[in-house]
């Protein structure tokens, strides 16, 4: 019995052109639009941001647009403004969570943001060249359409532009080490890579889930059908429901922990409407990322790289009013509790990141008990291990999670990860960023200044009217 009993599903109204969606929060956004009507969250916020754009880059764009070598200044500014709003939309309430008590996340985040902005451009440029140009990058994105358990997903693709460009540039502006018109070709390099991967993945002209009323419906129908055929019905309140949902939660928790309390460990796609009116969410939970040395406890527990869960939700059982699969791969609903409305499920495992899709195998829900124990064992060991690490190690480990993992799947697909390590010192820490380590604790920079600039949108300064597309960093003054 839930508190939502008796309500009816109205979520499909959110997909009607004139609908502005629900408000998931009372806060409003200003960003670079001082003096104008405050922007809301959700579908209405997306509409407002599109209406304020000077270019067409936020509308459905063509393949020819994506193949162009660079954006114009107006397009760069429109992307900067939109990503700033999008970051606020998905993260502003999370900004209230304070200190972890375990991992210094604000500290590692800002170091990673800045590192990405400095170091990714040449690595992404090399990767683009190695895959034969823009089409090769679009093909990396398109690979996600027929795979599960791949990190070429919303959060990683979004992170290239939103984090590497948006937050990275914002952090360096806040630290006053760059000016608003510095590093323009580098900004173009990052954003073009993001645009190409996302366009290739979605294939509908949009880049972000928020541009499509928070839908991430990327999979080909015949591929989806194969997965849905494995779904087992789950009776409400049954042991199967408990086994499935507890496994979902425990694996999600470990994916957070293995990725240092960030969402790179999970990835939702959907919602996909099924023939019987129920909706499907596909959820990748990356419980063992071999590139992290601390993930050895997950390896010891014999955990696969990824579990993928198919969650079938009855929208009428919960009186679903809106469902958002946001750009950081997390599903939120109104009402908030969708767990009790799960009426079907399936679990798949992918042993390694490069296991062929044909070798991804299903696990029956009745057999999840053994996997749950493995997940719990790894969780406790990883927690104990992490709790013994010194602050500096925690910060740099976390920094690696962002700086390496956000582009790792794309480099892996491109076959350029080893080259990036060998020829571009991917795992080395740039001396500028290394020095910033000492600056971020001064005057509350990591804890207060940066979050306020990033989450309010105030720090995303636009490129000026005098900006030159060729301008990198001409002077240190």
């Amino acid at each position: 019995m839930t508190t939502t009993e008796g309500k009816r599903a109205t979520y499909k109204q959110r997909y009607e052109a004139g609908d502005d969606g629900l408000r998931f929060q009372d806060l409003t956004y200003t960003g670079n639009f001082v003096g104008m009507e405050p922007v809301t969250d959700g579908i209405k916020g997306d509409k407002m941001m599109k209406a304020r754009a000077k270019s067409g880059v936020l509308e459905k764009v063509s393949k020819d647009d994506v193949l162009k070598d660079q954006f114009s200044i107006d397009e760069l500014n429109d992307l900067n403004n939109y990503l700033a709003w999008n970051i606020w939309d998905v993260l502003v309430m999370r900004a209230t969570e304070g200190e972890s008590g375990m991992i210094p996340r604000q500290e590692y985040e800002i170091l990673a943001f800045m590192h990405e902005f400095y170091r990714w451009p040449e690595i992404l440029r090399m990767t683009t060249a190695e895959v034969g140009g823009a089409q090769g990058v679009m093909d990396i994105g398109a690979s996600a359409r027929r795979e599960i358990g791949t990190k070429v997903n919303s959060v990683h693709d979004w992170a290239i532009g939103a984090v590497g460009f948006g937050m990275g540039r914002c952090g360096l502006l806040a630290l006053e080490t760059i000016g608003a018109d510095d590093y323009i070709p580098e900004s173009n390099e990052i954003l073009k890579f993001m645009q190409r991967v996302l366009w290739g993945k979605r294939q509908d002209g949009y880049l972000l889930n928020s541009q499509d009323r928070y839908r991430c419906q990327i999979h080909e129908q015949d591929f989806l059908d194969q997965l849905v055929a494995q779904v087992e019905p789950i009776e409400h309140g049954s042991p199967k429901h408990s086994a499935f949902t507890q496994f979902n939660a425990a694996a999600e928790l470990l994916s957070f922990l293995d990725h240092y309390d960030c969402r790179l460990g999970l990835g939702d796609t959907g919602p996909y409407e099924l023939p019987d009116g129920n909706i499907l969410i596909l959820r990748d939970l990356f419980v063992n990322e071999e590139v992290f040395h601390w993930s050895d406890v997950c390896e010891d527990a014999k955990l696969p790289h990824c579990y993928t869960l198919a969650l079938v939700i009855d929208p009428n059982r919960m009186g679903l009013n809106e469902i958002r699969v946001n750009d950081i791969s997390t599903t939120f609903t109104r009402p908030k509790n969708y767990i009790e409305a799960i009426v079907g499920g399936a679990v798949f495992a992918r042993e390694k990141w490069n296991t062929p899709m044909g070798e991804v195998y299903p696990i029956k829900i009745d057999d999840l008990g053994e996997h749950l124990e493995r997940v719990r064992t790894a969780t406790l060991k990883l927690y104990t291990k992490t709790s013994k690490m010194c602050r500096r190690d925690l910060i740099w480990n976390g920094q690696y999670v962002y700086y390496i993992d956000m582009i790792l799947p794309h480099l892996r697909k491109a076959g350029t990860y080893e080259k990036a390590c060998r020829d571009y010192d991917l795992w080395e820490i740039d001396q500028r960023v290394s020095n910033y380590y000492y600056d971020i604790t001064k005057r509350g920079f990591a804890q207060e200044t940066v979050p306020s600039k990033i989450f309010s949108g105030a720090g995303y300064l636009p490129f000026s009217d005098n900006a030159d597309l060729r301008n990198s960093k001409g002077r240190w003054l």
């Binding site: 309430m93 304070g98 200190e99 008590g101 309390d261």
Partner: protein, 139 residues
């Protein structure tokens, strides 16, 4: 009607209404110690931050209820408590105090006051309202 000692954001709507003695956890060692005591499920867990890693093993091992002094349902802990169906009230404030959590501008005394007032009390969580979660005296 029982006294509402504190209230905050309700992470998800549920008819579950766990009761137990509030246990303030201030360090990972506290979390490990509680799990090793075998008494995890006798307690409503009170934590300062709204992140999930700090409480990871407690959530995984079956915590019955959580109160945080910062964070929101979109926080990682909010997401995970919903997935575990562990009732959770976030950014709780004492109903008998004017002190409120403000991002980046909250003194240690705010947290200390909440911990002092709630730690050791027998309470019940009421999470039936869509938005507001309540911590109710259960003596």
């Amino acid at each position: 009607m029982a006294d509402v000692l504190a209230e905050g954001y309700n992470v998800f709507d549920t008819s579950k209404s766990p009761s137990g003695t509030v246990k303030y956890l201030s360090s990972p060692a506290d979390v490990i110690s509680l799990i090793q005591s075998g008494k995890l499920q006798e307690h409503i867990l009170l934590v300062r931050g709204g992140t999930t890693t700090f409480l990871a093993p407690a959530l995984s091992m079956g915590a019955i209820g959580v109160i945080t002094m910062s964070g929101a349902p979109e926080s990682h802990l909010g997401i995970l408590s919903r997935e575990f169906q562990t009732p959770c009230v976030m950014t709780a404030h004492l109903t008998g105090s004017d002190s409120r959590y403000v991002v980046g501008a909250t003194s240690d005394e705010h947290f200390a006051e909440i911990a002092r007032e709630l730690d050791g009390k027998k309470v019940r969580l009421d999470c039936t309202d869509d938005e507001v979660g309540r911590i109710v005296a259960d003596d």
